[in-house]
Each structure stands twice: as C-alpha cells, then as structure tokens.
Subunit: 119 residues, 2 copies
C-alpha cells in the first residue's frame, strides 16, 4: 500500500528518481525508485535519517514549531523530506533540474494518504 503511494509521487513528479517512507531510526518502511546510475539510494535513505534527526532535535530546542519540511540541494540532486508524525517521514529525491515546486506540492498532498496508511 505504501509502495503505490511512493510510486505515484515519483511518477507524477518531474525529475523524481526515488521516494521512501522511513523511520527516524534510518530504517525504510518502503521505497520506490527508478534505476539511476551513480547513487546508492539505500545509503541515501539511511544518511538522510541522520540529517533529519539532527534537524528535529534543533527544531525542538528552538521551539519554532513542529518541523514540516526540509530540502537539500546539491550539485546533482535535490532531496525533499517531509515529516509525517513523530516516528516517520517521507523523502523524494529529484534530479537537480527537476520541478522543485511540483515536488513540494506532491509530497504535501500525498502526506495525508501516507499518514492514513500508517495509522
């Protein structure tokens, strides 16, 4: 059930290569990916869990309200991360020239479906 939603996100996005539903412990519940050379998506997922844990901690310390979304842009990719609840988040990796605005929209829209599926 998660896989279908993740696939929808990747397929509907422009430039999306993978999406994952994961826990803050770095373990992916499910993921969907298009074949892509030169990137170990499994590793990506685990590493970004560490980043998000740090962001979550920071946001809690700063009391700036719940964390909603994190975007990381590098020379090759943009990774968009959206918090779902206290335990899980969803990531979408885009090629650098992918449509960032549409990716944000899709991730926000599908978050509620993922939250329902998790409940």
């Amino acid at each position: 059930m998660f896989r279908n939603i993740l696939q929808d996100i990747v397929e509907q996005s422009e430039g999306g290569i993978s999406a994952a539903l994961m826990g803050y412990d770095g373990i992916a519940v499910d993921q969907y990916e298009k074949p892509c050379e030169g990137i170990d998506l499994q590793l990506v997922v685990v590493e970004y869990a560490n980043v998000l844990k740090e962001v979550k901690k920071t946001v809690e310390i700063l009391e700036t309200g719940e964390m909603e979304e994190v975007a990381i842009r590098t020379e090759r990719f943009t990774v968009l991360i959206r918090a779902l609840n206290d335990d899980y988040f969803v990531t979408l990796t885009l090629l650098r020239d992918g449509n960032f605005g549409k990716a944000r929209y899709l991730l926000a829209k599908e978050s509620s479906r993922l939250r329902e599926a998790l409940a």
Copy 2:
C-alpha cells in the same frame, strides 16, 4: 562590510527577519536581525550550524556533489541556508508566510558578494 550585505538580504526579502554569516564551528562572523518576539536568534544560528555540519557530512558520504542549499520549514519559520565555501555559510530566516522563492533568489545572488568579501 558583511553587515551591509546581510541587511540588504533581509530588507529586500519579503518576510525576512534575520540573516547571518557563519562558520561551521557555530560562530557567527556577522549578523543582521529585525526585532522579533519569541525567538532567540543567537541560539538559532548555533543550532543550525550543527544541522549543516550533519548535512555536509552526509553529502560528502553520498558523493552527490557539493552541498549548495538547505531549507527547513517549521510551523513558524522557514530557514534558508546556503553554503559559501568549506568554512562558511549564510542563513536567512523568514516568517512562515514569507516569499520563499525570492529569498532563494536573493541568497544565491548575494552569495557571490559574500564570497568576495570573505576572500
């Protein structure tokens, strides 16, 4: 000299409340802020240095090219962070309903001025 650039970024942005030029060690070189209740901007700056260090490490491990930009959106604020070189980065904190696209544009544009000033 840094202060003027940081002030330009905040004043030209829509919804910007502070900008800081900082090192990955969490020490601000300079910062400019508008008065804003309920947030300790000094603390924000130090905490986001930790986040960015984690992101930088992750990006290096993943070999997805140099880190360029990180955006963190919470219930109250959006923090936009842009890497300048191996030692320094610039942050812009926006109110949640601020203009995100314009903020990204301004930060990218003024990054070259900051880099020149740092050299």
